[in-house]
Amino acid sequence: MKHETPLLDQLESGPWPSFVSDMKAQAEVRANNAENIEFQIPQDAVEDLLGVLELSYEDGTTHWKHGGIVGVFGYGGGVIGRYCDQPDSFPGVAHFHTMRVNQPAGKFYTSEYLRDLCDLWDLRGSGVTNMHGSTGDIILLGTTTPQLEEIFYELTHKFDQDLGGSGSNLRTPADCIGQARCEYACYDTQALCHELTVEYQDELHRPAFPYKFKFKFDGCPNCCVASIARSDLSFVGTWKDDIKVDQEAVASYVGGEFPPNAGAHAGRDWGAFDIQKEVVALCPSQCMKYEDGKLEINNRECVRCMHCINVMPRALRIGDERGLSMLAGAKAPILDGAQMGSLLVPFIKVEEPYDEIKEVIENVWDWWMEEGKNRERLGELIKRQGFQKLLEATNIEPMAQHVQEPRSNPYIFWKEDEVEGGWDRDINEFRKHHQR
């Protein structure tokens, strides 16, 4: 290795897959170059990456310069420019840009696709990746500016593959695996994720928004892609009719033939399954009853939290009248505090071509693009102008489900036309009845 890395070397021990060992292996592959690749960025880029990381471990500070504006023609995002602040010591990472590549919904791959992508990245990049970025993209970690257009050309022409999003735009949407491998999925998350990604390509590639905006699609309230916390518009599957109960299967759970939670707690002895204690008593709305060997659910009071279904997946199933809820405004703390999504649309059908859903999205955008301040997330605009304004912008009637609780302060705004006589009053009229 080109640089001594005593601190990083310590991270090669222990049972977890070591990123240091993997990067060293990659550095060695590049050094040996058994396949005679004509590397388009420095052959020792990974060694220099380890070197600069070791330096950061030593002095406890980052060695990447501020920002970086690079990209490909036609797009305003997709590439995160990065330059090392010690380019003389680590020339291999003087340029170390990240490319975001739009992943397939659900992140299912063929080995052929991944091999081809690796061939491209070995030639024109560092060979180091992040599978995947938190937003969902395939992250190609480290290349130089001249390679960006080359990579983009090959991605689009040979792979039929586009970049992901970055900047003040629609970021790469992501979803849970949905109906591909989950019996809880209330709609086809992959289909909707793909369709909206394709529909809004323009918004994704050319920043036109006050700030970033994210979509995420969860098939059910378990939220395996965490849409309620990590997307400005969150799409969470649900159903409207009754939970389907298979009483025989319930008996099998009670009798111990089926393990609760599909065996998720098998690593510890929690005693025999107790349906009363583990399901009925834990139901948040207390709408379940287990009597005479029969499980009953008062579905009108069910909030579809998923608990009973999660515990007894072979006995309880989601209803047949399915759709999704839309929640708006999740964001990380900066600037005015973290937010999770707030319920905007309690239930909406999920049917191609998804016109109803697109209408809500576009109404939200029209409002936020006009009213949003520079670098103001949707969640902050909702706070600043009020949830009422969001409802007006999306033509949604206020309903009890929009709040966890009614306001406790009495600072209530009325519209002038709601108040008899309006706001224009004459003090002299008042004085006729009330002396000064």
Binding site: G68, I69, G74, G76, S168, A208
Partner: protein, 105 residues
């Protein structure tokens, strides 16, 4: 810091090719960026975008938001990309000599 010599002028630029000092802006800089940013022919529309950006920056100390730029120039975002293939940030702001856009990009 790097230096660029172009048509007898010298510019101090960063790695991304943004001018470090707005006061170094001049006509030659426009010509230099034109070649860098994939612009074949410089039109009055390019110049209008540059002028609007500079007036806004001189008055407000920041670059305008995208939709403000669209309103001021009356160009849709699509047209701004036709003029500046790298977009309003990397393309137009660079040509106008404005500081590099920052934040989550």
């Amino acid at each position: 810091m790097a230096q660029v010599d172009f048509q007898g002028k010298t510019f101090d630029v960063d790695e991304d090719g943004f001018i470090l000092d707005y006061n170094q802006f001049c006509e030659e800089w426009i010509q230099y960026v034109k070649e860098q940013e994939g612009i074949d022919e410089l039109t009055d529309e390019h110049k209008l975008v540059v002028k609007v950006l500079q007036e806004y920056y001189e008055k407000n100390g920041i670059a305008p938001m995208v939709r403000v730029l669209s309103k001021l120039t009356k160009f849709k975002l699509k047209h701004i990309y036709e003029l500046f293939p790298s977009g309003p940030g990397k393309g137009a702001c660079k040509m106008a000599g404005l500081p590099k856009p920052t934040g989550c990009v």
